[in-house]
Symmetry: none
Subunit: 581 residues, 2 copies
DNA sequence: GAAGGAGGTCACTAGGTCAT
DNA sequence: ATGACCTAGTGACCTCCTTC
């Protein structure tokens, strides 16, 4: 649907201006009372319509003389952009467009609004509702944030300005598209019917249409001049017009366009809503609680009551995890290691059988292990991973076996990560699928943080979980490469931040929920959780680190991409090991 | 001076128009922050490109009838000057040239602008920035002084007009030159080499190719290539900024083209450096200069004094990059593409031979491309990447060829990233090796940020640089997978942050210097640079985003790990494409 | 003639203004 | 702060003239 529609839509909102109808409608709509001032002042459509008209009609080639009296006429009043009797409407609010401004057909109001917004880089006050206000002529001044958002959404941009006269080709194209739209409309059940229908079906015809128009243009075929349509449109996206109907009033959307557009619109809005809907700020931190009740409290609260507790919990979740100790002590058992997906699910208390197995293929992503570069041509295999008991591997063992043994070695660690995750307030509220996805993507990173202390850059050693220590040089000679170095460097910098236990726990939680989100189904929830944890972490750090708190917090966040890189490098090495054991 | 230059320079910027190239996504270009919508709107080029075409091809004698309908056609629209499939671009702004005006291939806009400027001897208002604004199609109207300067710089002059038809001889010469350029490019050592080379030799690669014979007429034959290098720089001493115009288009510059840049480069760099180091004040900050004075100063100071300046500069570095325009315009030329490592080095002005080649193997890391999952079992190959002209690939072509062609398609983008990097204050102070490493690791991420606007989650479309838009569903049906989704999501969230142009530039710089550090030799310097940039970004954001500044800044930092993930996913797809084309 | 460019024309728009 | 109205440009097209 949407697709088609879009295609269909030319580009702008149009309206029949023919009869006096318009005026009526408008007046109705117009929120403003009737201004006494003369016709000119009349804000409403009619008056304006009467003003100078820019006719894009084909035949209108150049009747410069006729309609417009030259420049002077301009002074007369704002012009109405009209094509073949159809008035173009503002893509932002549906008012009558005065031209093509910032890449979009827009009215004087929205043009001016957008101009001011960008010129002064104004940050509007947050929307009081859901940040998805519908923007129409009558209410466009109610929410600046949403209005500006809409401007951007429909494509207004300083880079999209177009000067000079409209290229004939474009004009032609517009016309054709509009005509098509019209025909469709009319042919259907007759104009009235369609109008009616449209009206009802879509509350915001204009938007609907408009939004897509821009996009679609290129696409399809239907656009008459296929060839033209394509590129040109792209290039001039907004150009096409959106067939809308009449005045602000009746907008009739393009043939199908409206429908589609609606779709798109709505989706957009939804997205917005969701995102913002969550109250990231709501998560306050414990300690400050007492000491500073005055600290900024969460802006909007959803269940504020338990927030503190949650936060505390999260800050301690790791510590409370019995596993923690184990981690450092190398609790490496022989527990079997199999498909991670399943493993995670089981540990999370889910039924693995209910999940798709595609995930299994990615399990290498989660391992905390690495081997020397495959460049290691010796016949001996090495597994230079601190999770291993030793970097040396029995050369006589089949590589498959080595691999399995190795994999098993970190099962306990993975289990601990899962336990930790389960203690993160809010984590279990995510869908099972998403919990597993985050764990799969983030386990390595979590382990990296927790085991950072195994890497000692100052002494240039790495302590394996077996308790044995090896120098970096030794490990390098066994084939360890860049990754090992990077891990050491990471550890050193992390240590330099001197995080407290709580901070470390909270940071670890952040690491987990910040894991690669690809595949996450409920992105908004994951993000909301992340926001909450970040907020808590921020408060904690701010509270603990004095002058350097801002820097510390920033540096902490900068650890995330580093972890991601380590994770990837690690995965690559694992992969290469599997490929060339 | 000018004279010589002109002579030397052939003349114009060219671009292949065969594909959708021409159209290029203007949107992309947008300097403005990543607005969500834009993609669609890009109107122009394409359409124009589609307009009347003046073919200079030899054989093309004059199919007047065909392409242009003679005079009448003229009425049709402005013509596009095309030679053998290559479209000539305006030497001033990179738009499609309509002819040879005032001694230079120029578009109607710049022609008219220049005409008015000289006719009325207009004294334009002083540039509000550094008087070195990059002139591109999208922003050519923002600074008259710089535009006029650029006109003069590229050689426009009333004395250079050429009347009447193009002498056959000249036409022939142009053709030959272009062909040579083409061949060189392709054959030589690969694109990179040429890029590199180009970099050094001619600031205005495009021209080289172009014919411009006009001026040259005078000069000698050799002019073509040799000349290139020379003069340009001279003529435009200040030009650092306009090193190439071509780019913007895609120009593919002549082989020698790149060379040009070099000259420019150095000069360019100097410019930048000088600015920072020397006249801090000289660098004025756009809007908030004054107001920002009160911003918090960097915590620990290393040259605190110049921070702001640096910040400003860096915040504008992207904008000043001529390439930006190119980006949007999709300048996909035929520049060869080979070993990236070498390419980077070349562009950076280093000697590729001195570097280890191991890097080359990783070059896939840098591409901004992705294809559908290999699960795509159909015989047809798809390259669902917005840098491509189309997701469809000729099934008859050998995959190797497809791959190479595809690789070439983003060479211009890579080049732009390099140019951008060079403008980041402090970046060039890193060792050559580290500069290359960061570029290799971060190019994809930088491109992802700059091209974010191509992905429109609201409308569920992706605009290719060719200007064509495709719905996510369509792309998905072609094999695109999770990555595409993730990219869209990333784009949406980024757009939601509503960064200003400066913020976006600064953020982009941060992205680059925050790239995977593995392999970096002087970690501390890289980190110091990162700190500096982050600090600047933080100040800027804090200053611009009011209540939400902290949140915005945090969210911005959280984009880094996301970018890293996208980068990795992308690399994986690339790899899988190479393994299973 | 016909190709091809200078200039002119005037459809159009970014921005500035200022009453509201 | 908004938006109707203006001003100063801008650039798509055209006409006319030069050169091949």
């Amino acid at each position: 649907m949407p697709e088609d529609n879009r295609t269909a839509k030319p580009g702008g909102v149009i309206a029949y201006i023919s009869s006096g109808l318009a005026s009526t409608a408008e007046s109705c709509v117009s929120s403003r009372p009737m201004l006494t001032s003369p016709p000119a002042s009349r804000p409403s459509l009619p008056s304006r319509a009467v003003g100078m008209v820019v006719d894009i009609a084909p035949s209108a080639k150049r009747g410069s003389g006729a309609e417009k009296t030259g420049r002077s006429s301009a002074s007369a009043k704002s012009s109405v952009t009209k094509i073949n009797g159809m008035v173009l409407l503002c893509k932002v609010c549906g008012d009558v467009a005065s031209g093509f401004h910032y890449g979009v057909h827009a009215c004087e109001g929205c043009k001016g609004f957008f101009r001011r917004s960008i010129q002064q880089n104004i940050q509007y006050k947050k929307c009081l509702k859901m940040e998805n206000c519908t923007i129409m002529r009558i209410n466009r001044n109610r929410c600046q944030q949403c209005r500006f958002k809409k401007c951007l959404a429909v494509g207004m941009s300083k880079d999209a300005v177009r000067f000079g006269r409209i290229p004939k080709r474009e004009k032609q194209r517009m016309l054709l598209e509009m005509q098509n739209a019209m025909n469709n409309m009319i042919s259907k059940n007759g104009p009235l019917h369609s109008m009616l229908h449209d009206d009802q079906s879509s509350p915001l015809p204009i938007e609907a249409i408009s939004s897509d128009a821009s996009s679609s243009s290129s696409s399809s075929s239907s656009s008459s001049s296929s060839s033209t349509s394509d590129s040109p449109s792209c290039s001039y996206p907004s150009s096409p017009q959106y067939p809308q109907d009449s005045e602000s009033v009746v907008s009739m959307d393009t043939n199908s366009s409206s429908a589609s557009s609606c779709g798109s619109d709505s989706s957009e809005d939804e997205g917005v809503i969701m995102n913002n809907g969550q109250h990231p700020d709501a998560f306050t931190f414990p300690q400050q609680r007492s000491s500073s009740e005055g600290l900024a409290s969460p802006p909007s609260g959803t269940g504020c009551g338990s927030r503190m507790e949650e936060q505390q919990e999260s800050s301690n979740c790791w510590n409370r995890n019995p596993a923690v100790g184990g981690y450092q002590r190398c609790p490496y058992s022989n527990s079997a290691y199999s498909k991670e997906g399943a493993a995670y699910q089981q540990q999370l208390g889910c039924d693995p059988s209910t999940h798709d197995h595609s995930q299994e293929e990615h399990y290498t992503q989660n391992a905390f292990s690495y081997n020397g570069p495959n460049s290691c041509t010796k016949s001996r295999a090495y597994l230079v991973c601190p999770m291993n008991t030793s970097p040396y591997v029995d050369p006589n063992k089949p590589s498959q076996e080595i691999w399995e043994e190795f994999s098993m070695s970190f099962t306990p660690a993975v289990r601990e990560v899962v336990e930790f995750a389960k203690r993160i307030p809010g984590f279990r509220d995510l869908s099972e699928h998403d919990q597993v996805s985050l764990l799969k993507a983030g386990t390595f990173e979590v382990l990296m943080v927790r085991f950072a202390s195994l890497f000692n850059m100052a002494e240039r050693t790495v302590t394996f979980l077996s308790g044995k220590r090896y120098s970096l040089d030794t490990l390098r000679s066994l084939g360890a490469g860049e990754l090992l170095n990077s891990m050491c460097e990471f550890s050193e910098k992390l240590a330099a931040l001197r995080l407290s236990e709580e901070e470390m726990s909270l940071f670890t939680a952040v690491v987990l929920v910040s894991a690669n989100r690809s595949g996450i189904r409920d992105l908004n929830s994951a993000e909301a959780l992340q926001d909450k944890l970040i907020w808590a972490l921020r408060n904690l750090v701010m509270h603990n680190h004095g002058d350097e708190s801002a820097t510390t917090f920033t540096k902490l966040l900068l650890k995330l991409p580093e972890l991601r890189s380590l994770n990837n490098m690690h995965s690559e090495e694992l992969l290469s090991f599997k490929v060339h054991p």
